[in-house]
């Protein structure tokens, strides 16, 4: 009796293992690049890590189908290489000769992708499910484009500068500096405001525009 049971279990296991091949249409190839991702802190891939993978995948199946019958034994792994890469298939928990459809497995993996990645400290690029393209992260776009803020600061400063300069140059002549209306400042206008060429003879620098002394 016991012997028959054991034989039965053995054949089931063998049969089940036969279901996991690389030609199967319901399986996925997984590739991990641990050293690339973690460098010095890379862990060694061993049996326990594989166990964790199978458990995580079973978790993903449970989450997606809301069916607590999925177990580590539902996940079959084969063709493990040194790369580290392998194939896996998912057995139907109610009927161990049937495999779960590829699309269903894909949906489950997609849903829990982040949890699976985190379990192994990897990312979409270093833990690859070869027929499941990673969902693209939407680039962060803030409400106000940052460049408009920088633009606003610069244009504000420049406009303030223009206004300050214009106001000060308009107010300037009223303080009695004796400049011409035509703003060629700094010309040889002569101290008393009369253009040199209006005078006969050379300019006399001795004349000063100092009206402190001549206030009447």
């Amino acid at each position: 009796m016991l012997g028959a049971l054991l034989v039965l279990l053995g054949t089931t296991a063998c049969l089940a293992q036969d279901l996991c091949t690389d030609e199967t249409s319901e399986g996925f190839k997984v590739r991990l690049s641990i050293k690339t991702a973690l460098g010095q802190q890379a862990y060694v891939w061993n049996e326990s890590e594989m166990f964790l993978f199978r458990a995580t995948l079973a978790f993903a199946m449970r989450q997606h189908f809301k069916n607590n019958e999925y177990n580590v034994s539902s996940i079959l792994v084969c063709n493990e290489t040194q790369r580290v890469s392998f194939h896996f298939v998912v057995l139907d928990p109610s009927d161990s000769t049937q495999l779960i459809q590829k699309t269903a497995v894909e949906a489950a993996v997609r849903k829990s992708r982040h949890r699976i990645n985190s379990a192994f400290l990897l990312s979409d690029g270093t833990l690859e499910f070869l027929q499941i393209p990673p969902t693209l992260a939407t680039p962060y776009s803030p409400a106000t484009p940052p460049w408009l803020i920088a633009f606003g600061v610069v244009i504000g400063a420049v406009c303030a500068g223009i206004i300050v300069m214009l106001v000060s140059s308009l107010l300037g002549p009223k303080k009695g500096k004796g400049e011409d209306d035509d703003e060629e400042e700094g010309g040889g206008v002569g101290r008393n405001g009369i253009a040199c060429d209006a005078l006969d003879g050379a300019c006399n620098g001795g004349f000063s525009d100092d009206d402190r002394l001549t206030q009447m």
Partner: protein, 616 residues
């Protein structure tokens, strides 16, 4: 007509020198010279370059500074004084200065756009945006690179060809407005504000270049870049194209024939040593080009090394995945031998992988000049440097300063002649007049913010910013040496600086420089005429995309090109003809042919006591 007594003055010599240096040193020193150096045999290029500087650049520079300082007028007044037949030269200078201002400030606007966009993490040109239905990355971006996409699509929004004008790109319009506002705020009080602004805009690029140099030299691959740049290939000196490029580079780099230098030196006291100034400005300009090329090429070397390493890494990944080799068992060090082993054992599989050929030399050869260097190549390099935002901001601030200080000279070469032509009503204050000119220039340069704007800018840059200057300079030197008279000119210089120009200057002015200019002009025009005018268009639907689609210019554009090259120099013969007709051969109008020194020039006290607003 000339009122020397009302002339503004430089507050001190440093401001004058910095303004002239700032005018000469522009974005071309950073993005044109290193490229030329690289494609023309590295260190060997310095020989034709320095020869052109000594025999063509410095004499022209000295000439312009001397006549400006002696005749104390802007470009219109100066050429009218030398001979009424040559009055057209001044008008030509003004026209080309105006046309160059239009597109040059657009480049400044592009730099501002990139500057504004450098304040974010991650930098917008480092990644592709998603497409419309968020399923994949934007196709155009994926086919080219994120930097290319950001430049051609998100900055220019370029149309597939020059005939398709597209619409005004609003973000470009506001950047262009900002650029013109900044130029205006610096010009509000003429050289008083310019003289202050140049303390920052001229010194800042050198600070940034030094920072970049120090950073770049510590990056891996910098040595490869520098070695590549400076390794001389002496055979290249046999190629006349190299000599032509050296001559044109010096010529356009020094910004002669704009009229701006004449105006700046006319604000000097008449005893200023203009010979020394000319030599200083010329040497500083060339030294800056060299200094910039060291920084630029260190960074390009770093970028090439990075590209080379990524190329190898992608090959390694392909091989690792295909042959299930352990992760990281195949590295850059053992790549060669492992590839050899795999190739000998499984040649078909290896061939099937289509591995990219990775050669550092090929990556170093991928050079670029102009906007391609600054906005595509350099921005890609900056992404790979740690702390990208800082480097991007520094780089674009440097380009902005370089562009702004050149704009000072460009615009001064427009404003001053307009005032000398008495086109400005007496009641109009300077700030209003400057504002109007800036507004008109802004409105006209809106062409460059259209979808096809970049194509138009290249047209302006290639045809306005080249041949007219050669013609104007030739007439300048011939006018001074043969019409005004070299003897009289030497006496003028003696009166100003106390010594006559030595045999070297006289030989250059009399024979060498005009001949050099003539040969360069003829060679340049014949080279241009040989090539059928066409342009590289960015067309995503093109078969070879992302290669640019080289299309010929349509006929109406070609007509505009001819107009743009010819119209600015048309005043020279026109004014000569007009003077001949109305005033006969003597050319006398109300103006005496000999410039009268004004009473105040002889008596220096007048000018020193003049109210120089904001002196010190």
């Amino acid at each position: 007509m000339a009122k020397p007594q009302e002339r503004p003055e430089w507050a001190n010599k440093a401001q004058y020198l910095l303004t002239c240096i700032g005018f000469a040193v522009g974005v071309g020193n950073v993005w044109r010279f290193p490229y030329l150096c690289q494609i023309h045999g590295g260190g060997a290029f310095l020989i034709p370059y320095l020869i052109a500087l000594v025999f063509e650049g410095l004499p022209l520079l000295y000439l312009e500074l001397a006549i400006g300082q002696r005749l104390r007028m802007g470009s219109i007044g100066v050429w009218n004084s030398i001979s009424p037949f040559l009055g057209g030269v001044g008008i030509s200078s003004m026209l080309v200065s105006f046309l160059v201002s239009l597109f040059y400030n657009t480049i400044v606007a592009w730099v501002l756009w990139y500057f504004f966009n450098s304040f974010q993490d991650p930098l917008p040109w480092s990644q592709c945006p998603l497409n419309q239905n968020l399923t994949a990355y934007n196709q155009e971006c994926v086919d080219s690179t994120p930097s290319n996409y950001f430049w051609y699509r998100q900055t220019l929004n370029i149309t597939p060809n020059v005939e398709t004008s597209g619409s005004l790109q609003w973000w470009m319009v506001i950047c262009l407005a900002t650029a013109w506002f900044v130029v205006y705020v610096c010009f509000i009080r003429g050289i008083e504000t310019i003289g202050k602004a140049v303390y920052v805009t001229v010194t800042l690029p050198y600070v940034v270049l030094t920072i970049f140099l120090v950073r770049a030299l510590t990056l891996p691959g910098a040595a490869d870049g520098l070695k590549y740049l400076f390794t001389p290939e002496w055979e290249i000196l046999m190629n006349p194209q190299v000599w032509l490029d050296a001559a044109t580079q010096i010529f356009f780099s020094l910004s002669v024939a704009f009229g701006g230098l004449i105006v700046f030196s006319s604000y000097n006291p008449s005893d200023n040593d203009c010979e020394k100034d000319a030599v200083v400005v010329g040497l500083v300009n060339s030294a800056t080009s060299l200094y910039a090329s060291v920084s630029v090429f260190s960074i390009l070397g770093f970028k090439a090394k990075n590209n080379y390493v990524s190329c190898l890494q992608s090959n390694i990944l392909a091989l690792t995945d295909r042959f299930e080799i352990g992760d990281q068992n195949m590295t850059l060090d053992n790549y060669e031998q492992m590839l050899g082993y795999l190739n000998s054992t499984w040649p078909e599989e290896v061939a099937q992988l289509n591995l990219r050929p990775c050669d550092l030399q090929t990556f170093l050869d991928q050079s670029a000049s102009g906007t391609g260097l600054a906005f595509i190549v350099f921005t890609e390099a900056v992404i790979e440097m740690p702390g990208s935002q800082v480097w991007a901001v520094l780089f674009f601030v440097m380009l902005f300063s370089l562009g702004l200080s050149t704009m000072f000279g460009n615009l001064e070469g427009v404003l001053n002649p307009l005032m000398e032509l008495n086109l400005v009503p007496k009641w109009m204050p300077r700030w209003l007049f400057t504002g109007i000119v800036c507004l008109v220039a802004f409105l006209m340069s809106l062409i460059f913010t259209l979808g096809s704007g970049n194509y138009w800018l290249e047209i302006f840059n290639g045809y306005v910013g080249s041949v007219p200057f050669l013609i104007i300079s030739f007439f300048e030197i011939v006018g001074v040496v043969y019409v005004y008279g070299l003897k009289r000119f030497s006496e003028d210089i003696h009166a100003m600086t106390g010594r006559r120009p030595n045999i070297f200057w006289r030989a250059c002015w009399l024979v060498i420089s005009p001949l050099y200019l003539l040969i360069v002009f003829v060679a340049y025009v014949s080279v241009q005429a040989d090539k059928h005018p066409n342009y590289p268009a960015w067309d995503p639907s093109h078969v070879d995309f992302p290669q640019t689609n080289v299309t010929p210019y349509p006929d109406w554009v070609f007509a505009i090109i001819v107009l743009l090259s010819g119209l600015p120099v048309a005043p020279i013969p026109l004014v000569a003809l007009y003077t001949l007709i109305c005033c006969g051969l003597k050319g006398r109008r109300s103006l005496p042919s000999e410039p009268q020194p004004s009473p105040c020039v002889a008596d220096n006290d007048c000018e020193r006591d003049a109210v120089v607003v904001g002196a010190g």
